[in-house]
């Protein structure tokens, strides 16, 4: 009897161990996909060691996702090193944790917001992190630092600061503006006998007429995708909504929409469905951004929506064929539409005054006009400050970038895009339901209904 009881007890414990191992995912949701490596800039030591060996140096923890093949990796390496050469930065040392990819970075930051272990400088990878961090009370209110330095504050327009304000307090320092438009392949347009508009097609009808001509010439008209967040499709859809009259534009400039069953959104979903069925590559459904970009680089797709950060890729021979840069033209979305959103700004997770000041000093350095221009040249990131003097040599060295700076002034309609304005789970629903829309398994109305349902979950 006793033996049987002991045996049962241990059998139950072992069963428990086996079954409860199932909960590993539940207990550490999000951590499984993260990979990171650590290093210390200049100090060549880690964490506490760095502090000890550097005497009165201030060590700032930074989690950096601009690493490896990231478009801004080189720029941020410059930025950290250059800051340490300045008066404000000479006593600062950085303790880095590197996390490649924005997605993994965002998941990590969210976990750290929850646990309260944020790094001293919190880069912002989007996905509503500003609001999450601000509402958790684990990032510093930067309003006093802006107030004590009016010259610095004057670098930012009201919209950019407002975008980084939660409950009347500024938490993020915007470092750039995000814009997007259409890149087109001049050679493919010529093959189809189409003359590209100087600024944009006047209407979407004209745009689709051009698509039909391209298709008739055996050329795939547009690049689209659905995986991850469906970035390219999001840009098309945002443009379709944002240029659809005042109602559409107002909707596409609203933060956290919960009602997607509006005439403009449903009409846009219907057009997106048609675009998937008639005008894009076979692998667009279920496809990620990278293979779609490769289609554009390889001259397999005529038009590709994206922002100026893509320009350096055109002359990168590892990504695009030699001479591709010269084949690319730029136009705005039909109706002179352009996506333009302030970027979610970098934050300060430090709690000690000394560290906060050092982190703010770095953010000030990051947003110095010279560095905004440097970022433009090295990464294509658009300056957050208006009226910056753009060096004249840019027209010679990077004519496409110069054209971007010029064409954006001709935009008559600007609007946001879903990664900046929608709830994160709604962006995910957008991505997972797009294939269903594309294959006609759900109607545009049902697609919008699913987005509405998803957005409303955030209010439960």
């Amino acid at each position: 009897m006793k033996k049987k009881t002991v045996s049962r007890f241990f059998s139950a414990v072992l069963t428990g161990v086996m079954v409860l191992s199932l909960t590993a995912c539940g207990n550490s949701a999000g951590s499984g996909t993260e990979t990171g490596s650590e290093s210390v800039a200049a100090g060549e030591s880690t964490g506490q060691e760095a502090e000890d060996s550097s005497g009165d140096k201030i060590v700032l923890d930074v989690i950096n996702y601009h690493v490896g093949t990231d478009y801004a990796a080189e720029y941020y390496t410059y930025l950290f090193e250059a800051f340490q050469q300045t008066e404000e930065g000479k006593n600062v040392e950085f303790h880095f944790e590197e996390i490649p990819t924005t997605d993994a970075f965002n998941q990590k930051i969210k976990l750290l917001i929850s646990s309260g272990d944020l790094p001293d400088i919190v880069f912002n990878g989007g996905n509503n992190i500003t609001e999450l961090a601000a509402r958790s009370g684990k990032v510093a209110d930067l309003t006093p630092y802006f107030e004590e330095d009016p010259e610095w504050k004057a670098l930012f327009d009201e919209t950019s600061l407002e975008f980084n304000t939660v409950d009347g307090k500024i938490y993020g320092v915007p470092v750039s503006k995000e814009i997007s438009y259409i890149y087109y392949n001049k050679e493919l347009f010529a093959q189809a006998g189409i003359e590209a508009p100087e600024v944009s097609y006047a209407t979407w009808e004209e745009f689709f007429e051009a698509c039909d001509k391209l298709k008739a010439a055996g050329i795939i008209p547009v690049g689209m995708d659905t995986a991850d967040s469906g970035w390219l499709t999001n840009l098309w859809m945002s443009a379709l909504i944002g240029t659809d009259g005042e109602a559409g534009n107002t909707w596409m400039n609203s933060m956290y929409p919960t009602d997607f069953n509006t005439p403009e959104v449903e009409a846009a979903a219907e057009t997106i469905q048609r675009m998937f069925q008639e005008y894009t590559t076979a692998d667009a459904v279920g496809g990620k951004y990278d293979p779609m970009a490769t289609h554009f680089f390889n001259g397999e797709v005529a038009m590709f929506p994206n922002g100026p950060w893509m320009i350096p890729d055109f002359s990168e021979t590892e990504k695009a064929p030699e001479g591709f840069y010269d084949k690319v033209g730029i136009m705005l979305m039909p109706g002179k539409g352009m996506e333009m959103v302030p970027t979610p700004g970098d934050m300060v997770g430090a709690s000690e005054e000394e560290k906060i000041r050092a982190a703010v000093a770095f953010l000030k350095f990051e947003t110095k006009p010279e560095n905004q221009i440097k970022a433009l040249e090295m990464t294509g990131l658009q300056p957050v400050s208006n009226d910056l003097e753009i060096p004249s040599e840019l027209t010679q060295s990077d004519p496409l970038m110069a054209q971007v700076l010029e064409i954006q002034n001709q935009a008559e309609v600007t609007y946001g895009q879903n990664q900046a304005y929608w709830y994160q789970n709604t962006i995910d629903t957008f991505s997972t339901e797009l294939p269903e829309l594309a294959y006609g398994n759900i109607t545009p109305g049902e697609f919008c209904e699913k987005l509405s349902e998803s957005a409303k979950k955030n209010q439960e």
Binding site: K2, K3, V6, S7, F10, V13, L14, T15, G16, V17, M18, V19, L20, S21, L22, T23, A24, C25, G26, N27, A29, G30, G32, T33, Q107, K110, I113, S114, L132, R135, S136, T226, A227, T281, A282, D283, V285, G286, G287, P291, H295, Q424, N425, D428, S431, T432, E433, L434, P435, E436, A438, Y439, N441, I442, K457, N458, E460
Partner: protein, 295 residues
């Protein structure tokens, strides 16, 4: 041989496992159970709300689909997958020509990281540049209808299933080890009595595999209840909810909705399903000690 103080030895040998369990799992599990009954998000500390989270998830169609998909995968894995491993072991046991190469080759997919397997299949089955398009062309089929196996919900569930269901190498190894432990005299006796190879398998090998088959089914089921990485790498639960399972649903609730209370309610459902499955399988397969000893 009679062992003195058997209970003491059992306690001593299981102590590390129990300590580890208490430290690593017990406390978080209590937290999971408690917070599943709370309103608990990134912004707020846990606040008791009773069964609200459970009512919310069971009212969600996607959650019900995720349970259905999880259970279908458990069923497929514990039947087809394990049986395939057993069949392979039965073949390899006879040591046909090249059996060592086959045994090693069959193990390879099991040692490739699942993330890499996910990427490999995504590229392999890409409708633009994968293997399907040239195959379609060769068969003279309509090129505008090249199937998008991961992208279309009509095929996605079975395509994701195919990324793991055929690779039963670990089960094969377990079965082979068990078969190697069977007394050779039994086989010799059968041969002397004129038993044919299939009769040897049917009446000797398979009955003696019952317990280990149960173990393999348990492991396969538990693995399926917590299957995450390859689904995340290939479809992230989509298109629609066609490949959504409980871990992906949980992950999304925690990381996209920032709703830890809801995520932990899913975790509780997952635990309950897991425990139920393990107990059911144990009941089905494990021979009771008394029966085994003929008492």
């Amino acid at each position: 041989m009679k062992i003195k103080n058997k209970g003491l030895w059992i306690t001593l040998f299981t102590m590390p496992c129990m300590l580890l369990f208490a430290l690593v799992y017990a406390a978080p599990i209590v937290t999971v159970f408690y917070t599943s009954l709370c309103n608990y998000t990134t912004f707020s500390s846990p606040e008791f709300t009773g069964l609200k989270n459970f009512m919310t998830i069971f009212a969600d169609e996607s959650f019900r689909i995720s349970i259905k998909n999880t259970l279908v995968w458990v069923l497929l894995q514990s039947t087809f997958h394990v049986t395939l491993g057993l069949a392979m072991a039965l073949v390899l046991r006879r040591k046909p020509k090249g059996w060592q190469v086959v045994r090693t080759a069959y193990m390879i997919p099991n040692i490739i990281p699942t993330a890499a397997t996910g990427v490999m299949f995504t590229l392999l089955l890409n409708p633009s540049f994968g293997v399907i398009k040239p195959l379609w062309e060769k068969l003279g089929l309509d090129m505008s209808r090249v199937p998008n196996l991961f992208g279309n919900s009509r095929y996605a569930f079975w395509t994701v299933t195919l990324t793991w269901i055929l690779y039963s190498g670990f089960n094969t190894i377990i079965f082979l080890a068990e078969m190697g432990a069977i007394d050779k005299e039994i086989y010799e006796a059968a041969r002397v009595d004129g038993a044919k190879p299939w009769q040897v398998d049917r009446y000797i090998t398979l009955p003696l595999m019952k317990n280990i088959f149960g173990t393999c089914v348990t492991l396969a089921s538990v693995a399926m209840v917590s299957q995450f990485d390859i689904i995340y790498m290939t479809t992230k639960g989509g298109p629609g909810s066609s490949t959504l399972n409980l871990p992906i649903y949980l992950y999304k609730a925690a990381t996209l909705e920032n709703n830890y209370g809801k995520a932990n309610a899913v975790g509780v459902v997952q635990i309950v399903i897991g425990i139920t499955l393990v107990l059911l399988i144990q009941r089905l397969f494990m021979t009771r000690a008394g029966e085994e000893d003929g008492r």
